[in-house]
């Protein structure tokens, strides 16, 4: 080893130390130290369980034993078993319900945005169901729908005889609709508050100017409110559809998933905890995740198509801006020349 090489080593060490002592390196070190704990927590409690779930989905196992490798059998079972894949049909009721829920929320938010006396009270009343936990909502509606109790009594006030009232939770033609009603009841207020928040951000002068120009309520809604809240509508729809695919509390508490009311989650819970088929339940979870991702991507594409005009407007505006900038630059260059 030459003398030159021997002398360069301590110099390298010194430069590394100097680099570490520099302000930039210190900032990076502090950043990494702060990020370490949340990233570790995220990995341990979110990504690691997910990785384990993917691994379990290829095994035939219970919670306690190691299980045996079965490959894709669990996934094939998910698509072949009527009780599992058929339960996704129940989710269609909840999807339909979520659309109704959003329409109602948009309607009531629009009513409130056109000044109404006591709107804070109506808002509080309609948001209140969202504050009650899902299990309690289940118990409230179990009693509400029981034959001869609250709902039948209310219908009785309007002259409907008890004998004519259907069995809300036992009749397989309507029990899913009744259960979806509980979800709509619970979440409409929350959606309404989100819509209202977006509508409030619209400048009041726009409404005033529109009414001075003779625009009616419908025109104000169509041309001012709707374009201003399209982002919130898309967000609410994505949340509602993914929520409807993973509906659990109403059918679990009210009917325990019996009489054709078992949603995908209720069946998954039964398979994992009662039948102890953890591998199959994990495969169900992965399939549901794939379905939710597909639905979200589909919705995004759909809304890109629906709101194409707005996007085109933005593109045209951006193009014009770029053209103006280029013209200014060319003018400046000419001036310099």
């Amino acid at each position: 080893m030459s003398n030159q090489q021997l002398s360069s080593k301590p110099q390298e060490k010194q430069t590394l130390l100097n680099k570490l002592r520099s302000g930039k390196a210190q900032r990076v070190l502090v950043m990494l130290t702060f990020m370490l704990v949340p990233l570790l927590l995220l990995f341990v409690f979110t990504y690691l369980p997910f990785i384990k779930m993917v691994q379990f989905s290829f095994y035939n196992r219970t919670y306690l034993d190691e299980g045996t490798w079965v490959g894709l059998k669990n996934y094939i079972d998910v698509f072949q078993r009527d009780d599992i894949f058929g339960s996704l049909a129940v989710s269609l009721y909840y999807m339909g319900g979520s659309v109704v829920q959003l329409a109602l929320a948009l309607f009531f938010a629009s009513l409130m945005v056109f000044k109404a006396k006591g709107s804070a009270i109506y808002k509080a009343c309609m948001f209140f169901p969202y504050l009650i936990c899902g299990i309690a909502v289940g118990f409230i509606f179990k009693f509400f729908y029981a034959h001869g109790y609250v709902l039948d009594s209310i219908l009785g006030l309007f002259g409907v005889a008890l004998e004519d009232c259907p069995l809300w939770l036992q009749d397989m033609r309507i029990n899913n609709i009744a259960l979806v009603g509980t979800s709509v009841w619970r979440y409409t207020g929350q959606n309404m508050v989100l819509f209202l928040g977006a509508m409030m951000s619209v400048d009041n002068e726009l409404y005033e100017a529109a009414s001075l120009d003779g625009a009616g309520r419908w025109q104000q809604f169509k041309y001012i409110i709707l374009p201003s809240i399209k982002t919130i509508i898309v967000l609410n729809l994505i949340l509602s559809i993914s929520g409807s695919l993973s509906a659990f509390e109403p059918p679990y508490v009210i009917t325990n998933g019996t009489m054709g009311t078992g949603t995908y989650f209720v069946i998954m819970n039964r398979i994992a905890h009662e039948n102890q088929k953890v591998g199959l339940a994990c495969a169900m979870a992965i399939v549901l995740l794939a379905i939710i991702i597909l639905c979200t991507v589909g919705q995004n594409l759909f809304f890109k198509y629906v709101f194409k005009d707005g996007a085109e407007d933005d593109a045209v505006r951006a193009q014009r801006k770029a053209e103006r900038k280029a013209a200014r630059l060319a003018k400046a260059k000419k001036g310099v020349a």
């Binding site: 109602l104 309607f107 009531f108 009513l111 409130m112 056109f114 109404a116 709107s119 009270i121 109506y122 009343c125 309609m126 209140f128 169901p129 009650i132 118990f139 409230i140 509606f141 009693f143 509400f144 001869g148 109790y149 609250v150 039948d152 009594s153 209310i154 009785g156 008890l162 009841w185 409409t188 207020g189 009616g216 309520r217």
Partner: protein, 52 residues
């Protein structure tokens, strides 16, 4: 009353529909909870006896 006279018929109808809808929706939202609260004060016999 004077303000009501200033309003156009369409506005009056809209206001009526607006209040009816909002009050109705508020009642629908709170009725199940109110019934639940009242039921909490009932005895077992009262609770089990159907109201109709």
């Amino acid at each position: 009353m004077g303000k009501l006279k200033e309003m156009r018929p369409g506005e009056i109808i809209f206001s009526i529909v607006q209040y009816v809808m909002l009050i109705g929706a508020s009642l629908v939202a709170v009725t199940p909870v109110i019934v639940c609260v009242f039921t909490a004060f009932k005895t077992d016999t009262e609770y089990q006896a159907p109201p109709r």
